[in-house]
Each structure stands twice: as structure tokens, then as C-alpha cells.
Amino acid sequence: MSDSPVILHDTSEAAGHAHGGEHPSYLRHHFESVEQQADTTNFAMWLFLLTEVMFFGGLFTAYLIYRNWYYPAFVAASHQLNIVWGTANTGVLISSSFTMAMGVWCSETKRKSGLVLCLVLTFILGLLFLGIKTIEYSEKIEKHHVPGFHYSLQSFLDPDSDEAAKAAGDKPLPLDVARHTEIYFSLYFAMTGMHALHMIIGIAILGFMIFRARAGAYTTGHYTFVENFGLYWHFVDIIWIFLFPLLYLISRHQ
């Protein structure tokens, strides 16, 4: 074709942009340089986390409104949560964030065995979190605190019959106030459930990464995937950092 594009400046200046040497195999064809590629995927990950913020933002809004409307019911309902398990889980998650951050560092500095170790630790801590969450959920199921058809107001109408309520020194709530505890538990399960779903997805990806890291991936200088996954993992952690005081510690400052 003789009609070559008008704009194309086939000058040495433009040619200077292309690297003389070989491109690393992980550089995708539409990027100019490895830096651009890393920068771009990183930015995309931050944007994705922004959408996650908006996603959880809807739930936090609902929480904010109902907590303001039904504060006494929210306080009584929050006493039903096991603060020891909750604190332990917070510790577990923060530790997992630390091991994840170490993993990113190992990947960056090309330490293969260190990376595998960190990922495995993160994986185990993630599972531990879900395990503790399962214990907490089963307590709620036993007490019929799962909203829906089997929801029971027993613990709130008659706190003396309930250990947790008794320990917190709760007074019996009038029926119309007690009924609003169901909203609390709806939000509790929706928020921690969505959080747990994100954990499960994260753990699945971690499993995949451990598999790949053992085969030598991520320690060749191309660690964008580990870095971006780290961002995701920390994000899920931060969500919990907000959930913990909002759900467990409503009245603990009094």
C-alpha cells in the first residue's frame, strides 16, 4: 500500500522509544515498557478496589442509618457477639496482612522459598479466620439469631435466660425495640458474609499462587500479580478493621 498513514513519524525520535534489546517474555505486546505495564495493572487494581469500596459502601450506609434509628437494639444485639473470637480474628487478619506484605517483598527481591513460605502462612491464617468465623456463625445458628423465619427474640426479651446478655448486664427490651435486633443481624450477616466471600476468593487465588510460586513464578522480576493480590488482601483486611468496631464494639466505650 502506497498510502501510508499520514501521522506516522518514522523518525529516529520515535524509533528511540523502542528498546534496542530483547523484551522480557512477560511484557505484553501492547505495552511500551515493563514499567508501563506494571504501572497500568497496578492502577487498574486500585480502581477495582475503589469499586469494592462502593460495593461495601452501600452496606455501611444501611448500617449507619439503622444504627442511628435503632441504637438500643443494636447495642443489645452486639452483646451477643463473642468479643474474644472477634479480637482473635482481628489479630489473625492483621498477621496475615503482615505475611502477605512479606510475601510481596520476597517476590520483589526474588526469594523463592521465602515467597512460598509467606504465601502458605497467609493461606493458613486466612483459613484460620474462616474457621473462627464458622464457630461464631454456628453460635448464632444455635441461638436462632439468623434473620428470617426462625429468628428468635428470646435473648432480648428475657436476657436472664441468655449467658451473653446476662454477662453484659442487659435489661429486657420491649417487644417493638427487640424486634429491631433482626435488622442488626441482617446487616451482621450481610457484611461479614460479603467479607467472608472475599476471603474465600482470596484464599482460592492464594492456593493458585502457591502452586505457581513453587514452580518459580513471581521471582523472576515480574511480581505485579503478587503485588496486586497483596493490595486485594490488605483491602479485605481493612474492611474487617471497620467491621470489627462497628459490629462488636458498639457500646464498649461506655
Binding site: 500500500m1 502506497s2 498510502d3 501510508s4 498513514p5 499520514v6 501521522i7 506516522l8 513519524h9 518514522d10 525520535e13 520515535a14 524509533a15 522509544h17 505484553r28 505486546h29 501492547h30 511500551e32 508501563q36 504501572d39 497500568t40 495493572t41 492502577f43 487498574a44 480502581l47 477495582f48 475503589l50 469499586t51 469494592e52 462502593m54 460495593f55 461495601f56 459502601g57 452501600g58 452496606l59 450506609t61 444501611a62 442509618i65 439503622y66 434509628w69 435503632y70 439468623v146 434473620p147 428470617g148 423465619f149 424486634r179 429491631h180 433482626e182 435488622i183 441482617s186 446487616l187 450477616f189 450481610a190 460479603m194
Partner: protein
């Protein structure tokens, strides 16, 4: 014919370039597994058209039912399902992805001088999500449909109806992620993939408009996703968040839903405005008047668009102060919209205007969008809104903006970039006819609905008092004309794939980077990474380039 800017290569010697993104690889799999933004755009175009015609057929059924005052064509609950599915399909599976996923996908990398979108796999994933969501929506329709209206209003959707709310909700949820990924991809691409010299204020306004729409997609869509999740939980296990008997508030659903769904109308219209900026400059041979103002007005629409959602709830029991504030904020959106319309009009002033098909659609857009936008001010005024809301006035307003505005822009864009996408021209005369038919049919269909609305005819009913029949017959007759107007492009555009004139690189003598490469483009878009050394819409630069080329060849 001096009244045209079209300059085609000599047809006896011209050829479609042998190597281009269409001929690069063959076979169905090479399309279904492609990472090429242009191929994904074509996939989107085909699937979008399919959904458009399903939604259009449903619209035809609605108009046919409303031909007579009684509910005689279908049972009233069937009618509810038909208008719901019309809304769901047209909004989530046509309007939201229409321009961004087809033209935006195809053109943004070309316009900013990139080889592809930043995340090609995510781009393909977004198409698969779209198809998955769309298939689920069709499946829902085939197995009984849903009758809540496209707004899934609680407590109707959570407690009272016994139709496929869950599967439709899931379909919208999935399509939402498709939209999030498209928007995310655009933002990242526009930030990180611009060619040397392509500063923010040298970008075509089409790219600016998509940037603004992408912000809305990324920030708004997750909120409707969580709203749908809560509706699903409410419906299945009765969690009570939207249930007043348990202390929940249905109004909360309205807030969450409209927090997305109002910005969603700007997701739909902004890319269309981007198309108009391109066509109006090309067919007036002038730089867009007030380039910077038009660019920032897109962003302003996106920002204001997030703070007006409660104007959908003026009669739903929000506080009077909220009504006051949201009414004011709603009027503010009219400002950037008007900036665009006025700047486009000034672009026309003393321009060398020609009337090719894209320009006819553009004029259609400007007129109809202005009417649609101004009637929006009526509805944003709380006093008149109380009278007009839930009547056909709303229907007419919305369709003036979306069909008269967005669909006109979509067709303008498809015609304008058809030679770039396929390498061939569409037939000019018949397409001009189609544009005129669409315009006439549109006004016949929807203008009577403004009058019906002010007379008080409520929307979403299968029957109506007999005194409204004349105007409804007008509307249905207009819909028939409109249908012809939409069918024609499908026929002649398909015809042109084989028989259209060879377009050459730049049939419109336009300035965008996409016109400076071959049509259809190469898979990697440009032979050498372009350098942007001039302003956007610089026709003098284009002239100089042509002179250079002539002397070069000579």
C-alpha cells in the same frame, strides 16, 4: 456534488488493505478468544443489535396493546411483564453498553494512539459477562418473565410478586460487572496508554466523554450490585432490611438503587455526547468551539450526576428539605448539558456544514436532546413533578433523552465510523432517508406522550380512558415508522459489507488519529507509534499533511 466532504480513493484501483484486524486470523475461535479491542467491539456490536431488536419487539407489543383503550391484545399481567422486560433489556443490555462497548472499545485506543486497551483479557471477560447476563435475561423472559418494572421497586419485588425477580436481578448483577470492567479498562487506558505528545487537552472530546462515563460506571455500578444482593436476601430469607414490618425501610432501596440508576442515565448519554462532538466538528470543518469547556462539562455532568438521585423520590416521602436540595442540584445538571449544546451550536456558526448521514443524526440529537433535557427541568421542579411524575410525561422525557438523544448519537457514530470499522462506505442516499424517517417516526411516537402525560395518563397501565385514544393511535403509528427507520440501517449496512464503496483511510477528511491509519486498521492499530504534535480538531494541520503527502508521492 460540491456539498459533500467525502473524498474516496479511485474505486477502480482501490483495495481494502489485505492485512487488517479482520483478516489477520480466521475461524470462530480467533474471534471468541481474541484480545483485540476492535474484534471485541465487533462482537459487542452484533450482540447489542440482537438485544436491541428484542427490546424493540417488546416496545412494538406495548404500542400495539395501547392502540385501543381496553386491554385486549394481552392480559394485564402479561403487559406488566412486557414493559418490564423492555426496560431491563433496553437499559442494561443496550443503552448502558451501547456506545462505550462498541465505538468506545473500537476507538479509544486508536484515538489516543495506543495499540490496545490496557487490559485486553478483562475486556474480553466483560463481553462474556455481558453475554452471560443477557442469556440469563432472555431465559428469564422465556420462563415467565418479571413484572416489577425495571426499577425492582421494593416491597413489590421482595414481598408481593411471584415472578422471576431473582434471576433477572442476577442477570443485571452480572451485566453490571461487565460494565464495571469496561469503565475500569477505559480509565486505566486513558491514564496510562496515551501516545507521546497526547496530553489530556489534545485528546478528542469523545475520549473525554468516555472518561467521565467510566467514572460513573466504576463508582455507581457496585452500589446497584449491593442493592440487588440485598433484594435477593430479602426475597429468599427475609432479612428485613427493606421490610417495614421488621423495622426496615423500602426507601433505603430507592436510595441505593437510584444512586446508581440516576448516574446510569449519564453513563448512557455521555458517550453519545462524545460522538456528537466528533461529528459536529468533522461536518462543520471547525474545531469544536470551547474545547476545554466541553471537556470539563463532561466531567461536571459526571460529578453533579452523583448528587441528584433523590429527584426520583420526590413523591415517596423524603423530607421537604431533601426535595429542595435535590431539586436545586438537578437544575445544576442542566448547566453543563447546556454548555455542550451551546458550544456545538457555536461550532456550526460559520462552519462549512455538509449534510451526510452522521450529521443528520447529529442534528436529530441536538433537537431532541434539548427537548428531553428541558422537560427534565420540569420534572426536577418539585411542584410540577408532583403533577407529572408517574405519567406519560416521564416516559416521553426519558425516551427523548435516551432514544432521541442516545440512539441518534449511536446511529450517528455507527455511520460515521462504519468506513473505519469495515473499510467500506454505507450507501449515502438511503441512509439519509433512514435518518429522516427515524426523526419523523420518533416525534410521532413520543411527542403525543408529553401531551398524554400533562393530561394525566398514568404510565404502566394496559388500558386507559377512551378520550386518550387519538394521541395513543398517533404514538403507535409513529412507532411503526420508527421501526422502519431502525430496520433500514441493518439492511443497508449489511449490504455495504460486500458492496459498499472502498472508503480509504480518511473519507471524511477528519482529524482524529483513528483516521490517519488504514481502514480497517491493523491489529496493532498503527505501524509506528504515532506522535501527537498538533491540537485536536486541527484542520490546518490536516491540510498541511495532505500537501506533504502529495509532494512526497510526486
Amino acid at each position: 456534488m460540491s456539498s459533500t466532504i467525502v473524498s474516496l480513493p479511485d474505486q477502480s484501483t482501490a483495495r481494502i488493505p489485505k492485512v487488517n484486524f479482520i483478516t489477520k486470523e480466521n475461524g470462530l475461535l480467533s474471534w471468541l478468544l481474541t484480545g483485540d479491542h476492535k474484534r471485541i467491539a465487533i462482537l459487542y456490536l452484533i450482540s447489542l443489535s440482537f438485544f436491541f431488536f428484542i427490546g424493540g419487539a417488546l416496545a412494538g407489543l406495548i404500542r400495539l396493546e395501547l392502540l385501543t383503550p381496553q386491554a385486549d391484545l394481552m392480559a394485564t399481567d402479561t403487559y406488566n411483564k412486557v414493559f418490564t422486560m423492555h426496560g431491563v433489556i433496553m437499559i442494561f443490555f443496550f443503552l448502558v453498553p451501547s456506545v462505550p462497548a462498541t465505538l468506545g472499545n473500537f476507538l479509544i485506543p486508536l484515538m489516543i494512539g495506543a495499540k490496545d486497551l490496557a487490559l485486553p483479557k478483562i475486556n474480553l471477560l466483560s463481553w462474556y459477562l455481558y453475554i452471560a447476563g443477557g442469556t440469563l435475561a432472555i431465559y428469564t423472559m422465556a420462563t415467565g418473565g418479571v413484572d416489577t418494572g425495571w426499577t425492582f421497586t421494593t416491597p413489590l419485588s421482595t414481598h408481593y410478586v411471584n415472578t422471576n425477580v431473582l434471576t433477572t436481578g442476577l442477570a443485571v448483577f452480572i451485566a453490571g460487572f461487565s460494565s464495571i470492567f469496561t469503565g475500569l479498562n477505559f480509565i486505566v487506558t486513558i491514564h496510562k496508554m496515551r501516545c507521546p505528545g497526547m496530553t489530556w487537552f489534545k485528546m478528542p472530546l469523545f475520549v473525554w466523554a468516555h472518561y467521565a462515563a467510566s467514572i460513573l460506571m466504576v463508582l455507581g455500578t457496585p452500589v446497584v450490585a449491593i442493592a440487588i444482593v440485598l433484594v435477593a436476601l430479602e426475597r429468599t430469607i427475609g432479612i428485613g432490611v427493606f421490610d417495614p414490618t421488621k423495622g426496615g425501610d423500602p426507601l433505603l432501596f430507592q436510595h441505593l438503587f437510584w444512586f446508581y440508576s440516576h448516574p446510569a442515565v449519564y453513563i448512557m448519554i455521555l458517550p453519545g455526547m462524545g460522538v456528537i462532538s466528533e461529528t459536529i466538528s468533522t461536518f462543520s470543518r471547525k474545531r469544536v468551539f470551547g474545547y476545554t469547556a466541553v471537556a470539563f462539562s463532561s466531567v461536571a455532568i459526571a460529578v453533579f450526576g452523583f448528587f441528584v438521585w433523590a429527584h426520583h423520590m420526590f413523591i415517596m416521602g423524603i423530607s421537604n428539605y431533601a426535595v429542595l436540595v435535590f431539586s436545586l442540584l438537578t437544575m445544576l445538571v442542566a448547566v453543563p448539558s447546556a454548555i455542550k449544546i451551546f458550544n456545538w451550536t457555536f461550532t456550526l456558526y460559520k462552519g462549512s456544514i455538509t449534510f451526510e448521514t452522521p450529521m443528520l443524526y447529529t442534528f436529530g440529537f441536538m433537537g431532541l436532546f434539548t427537548i428531553g433535557g428541558l422537560t427534565g427541568v420540569f420534572l426536577g421542579t418539585s411542584g410540577t413533578d408532583i403533577h407529572l411524575t408517574e405519567t406519560y410525561f416521564i416516559v416521553a422525557h426519558f425516551h427523548f433523552v435516551m432514544v432521541g438523544g442516545m440512539l441518534m448519537a449511536f446511529l450517528a457514530g455507527i455511520h460515521f465510523w462504519w468506513p473505519k470499522m469495515t473499510g467500506r462506505m454505507y450507501p449515502e442516499k438511503i441512509s439519509q432517508l433512514a435518518a429522516v424517517i427515524t426523526f419523523i417516526g420518533f416525534n410521532f411516537t413520543f411527542f403525543p406522550q408529553f401531551i398524554l402525560g400533562t393530561l394525566g395518563m398514568p404510565r404502566r397501565y394496559a388500558s386507559y380512558p377512551p378520550e386518550f385514544q387519538v394521541l395513543n393511535v398517533f404514538s403507535t403509528a409513529g412507532a411503526t415508522i420508527l421501526g422502519v427507520g431502525y430496520l433500514l440501517p441493518v439492511l443497508y449496512l449489511t449490504w455495504s459489507l460486500k458492496y459498499g464503496a472502498i472508503a480509504g483511510n480518511n473519507p471524511w477528511q477528519a482529524t482524529g488519529l483513528e483516521w490517519q491509519t488504514q481502514s480497517p486498521p491493523l491489529t496493532e492499530n498503527f505501524k509506528v507509534t504515532p506522535i501527537m504534535d498538533h491540537e485536536a480538531y486541527d484542520y490546518d494541520w490536516l491540510e498541511k499533511q495532505k500537501e506533504k503527502e502529495v509532494t512526497h508521492v510526486g
